[in-house]
Symmetry: C2
Subunit: 341 residues, 2 copies
Amino acid sequence: MPETIASLGEFGLIDRITGNFSAKHPQTLKGAGDDAAVIDTGKSLTLISTDLLLEGIHFDLIYTPLRHLGYKAVVVGISDIYAMNGAPRQITVSIGLSARFGVEQVDELYAGVKIACDQYEVDLVGGDTTASMTGLTLSVTAIGEVEKDKIVYRSGARENDLICVTGDLGSAYLGLKLLDREKRVLEGIENPQPVFDGYEYLLQRQLKPQAQRDVIEAMRENSLVPTAMIDLSDGLASDLLQLCKASKMGARVYLERIPIAKESFALAEELHIDPVVAALNGGDDYELLFTVPLNKQGEIAQIPGAEIIGHIVTEGKGAALTTPDGQEITLTAPGFGDGGR
Amino acid sequence: MPETIASLGEFGLIDRITGNFSAKHPQTLKGAGDDAAVIDTGKSLTLISTDLLLEGIHFDLIYTPLRHLGYKAVVVGISDIYAMNGAPRQITVSIGLSARFGVEQVDELYAGVKIACDQYEVDLVGGDTTASMTGLTLSVTAIGEVEKDKIVYRSGARENDLICVTGDLGSAYLGLKLLDREKRVLEGIENPQPVFDGYEYLLQRQLKPQAQRDVIEAMRENSLVPTAMIDLSDGLASDLLQLCKASKMGARVYLERIPIAKESFALAEELHIDPVVAALNGGDDYELLFTVPLNKQGEIAQIPGAEIIGHIVTEGKGAALTTPDGQEITLTAPGFGDGGR
C-alpha cells in the first residue's frame, strides 16, 4: 500500500520533509521540530515561528468576525515564541484576498492585528498581499528574542519532572462546536440571532484566545526556567506526545487533574461530548504545557493559572492518562487535517 | 464612490494597512515598505522577508512541475534578502495541501526546496503544514544577515545616480505566455507533446528563476554598495516606481537600454506582444534593480550582467521612459492581482 499523507499524519509528514535537510550554518541552533526556529544572533537568540491560517480549515468567515481573526492570527504566531520562553518582538502578516473582499474588510482584519500588536507590544514589520482565487489565506511569521541561558526547548523533560498546564483546556474547541451548532440551526434564517447565553467564555476562548505572556513573565520573576515547554495548539494529547518524543520520555497525566472550565462541562453535556476528549484533542487553547523538576512545586504556585497534571516517566513506559480508578489509557494524536487546527 | 482594493492597488493597500502601525522596539529598524524587514540584533542586522504563493495566482500546476515550484519558492524568498545587499541564511516553508496531494508530490515539492537550499546555502528551519480546502498554498519566510554598514534600502537613490539592472527583463513573463499558449492548444489532447523548441531559455526563466547571489558577491568584492536596490518581482515599471517613491526621486530610463533577450524578441513577435511592455509589466524576473553614484560607472562593468539603463532625477520630474526619438512616456504600475505575480 502506498503511503498517504493521512497515514503519515502531520508530524510524520514533517519528519519526512525535514529529515533530508541538515543545517549548514553554525548559527542555526534549531530548525524544524520545536515551536520556533532558533538562530544565534550574537548576544541573544532570535526565534522565528510561522503559521498558515486557511479559510475552511482554520476559520469559518460565517461566524468569525474579521477583527477577531486578525487578532487571533497574531496570538497564534506569538504563542510559539512564548513557548520557547522568549519575548515576541516583531511579526509579519501576509494575506491572500479573494475578489469578494473589500477595503473595509481588510481594515477590519488589520484593526484586529493592531489591537493584538499593541497589547503584546509587537511590531508589524511586513507581509505580502496578493489576490487569491480561493478563500482568505493568512500567513503569520512571529520573530522573538530570548537570552541564551533562558531558552526552553521541547526536548528537555527528564524523568520525575512535573507536567504543568496553564488555564483550562478544551474550551476553545467547545466554543467552536457552539458556533457550528448555531450556524446549522440558523442556516437560511434572515437576520439570525444566535443564542450564546452563559457560554460567552467559550466563544471568547475560540474567537479571541490569549497568548501566555503573564505566565512567561511570572516565570521570569520567580526565576523558574521550565525543563521543556510547548504551546497547546493541537490539543493536550498531541502536544504532550510531541514534548515526550522530543525529550525521549514518557508521561503520566491524571485525568481528574486536567483543568476544565465549568462552562465546558455544561456545554459538553448539552452536546453529548466528553469534555476530557475535548481537552485532549480539541486544540486552539494556546495555553502552555511545560515541565519542571520535582523540587519546583513551590514555584508553580506563583505562576498564574498553572496546575500540575502529571509527571514524566521513562520513554519505555509511554504516554498515558491515568483514570481515578487507576486505569491507564494510552495517549494518541488525531490525524492530519483533523481537529480544531 | 467607495474605495476598492482594485482602485487602491497593491501598494496603496499596503500603505493603508501599515499606516496605522508604528514600531515600539528600537531594534525594529525597518518594517513594511522595503524588500525585507530589518532588525538590529547587535553585531549585524537580521533581515526577514515573507512571500505567499497561491495556486491559480502565482502558479498553475498544469504546467509547473512541483520540483520547480519548490525551487522557485525558495528563490522568490531569498531574492528579497539579496535585494537588501544581505546573505540569506535560513528559510521557513509552509504548505497548505488539498486532498488530491499525495506523499510523492510533497516529496517532489521539497526536493526542489532542497536543491535551492543547497545551491544558495540556506537552512530550512521550519514551516507549517496543514490541510487546505482549496488549492496548494505556499508561504515562505526568508531570514538573512547583513553588516550594518552594507545594508541597502530602496530609499537611498539620489539625483544623478545611475540606474542599473542585471540580466534581461520580460523573459519570465514570456515563458509564462508560452506555457499558457501550449496549455490552451493542447487542452483535451491525450498525451500532449508541447513544443518549446528554441524557447527553452524562456521556460527556464519562468520555471526555474535564479536569485542574484553572484551579483551581490561581485559587488562585495568590488566594494560597491548601491545607494538603493530592489528585486524585480513585479516588473521594471512597478519596482522602479517603488524605488523612486521610497527615495523621493524621479527616474529616466532609456527604452533601448532595457536588456531584452533575443528569445524574448522572437516569442514576443510570434505572440504579438510588445517585448518592452513585457519587461516593464511582466514581473517574475528576480533580477536586481539598483542605483549607484555617477562616479561608479567603472565598477558596474565588474558586476556580472549589470547594465546602466538610466538615471535618477528629482521627484518633480516623475518617472518616465525615454524613447530613441526623445519622447517621454510616464511609467505606471499595473493594478492589484494583475501581471505574472
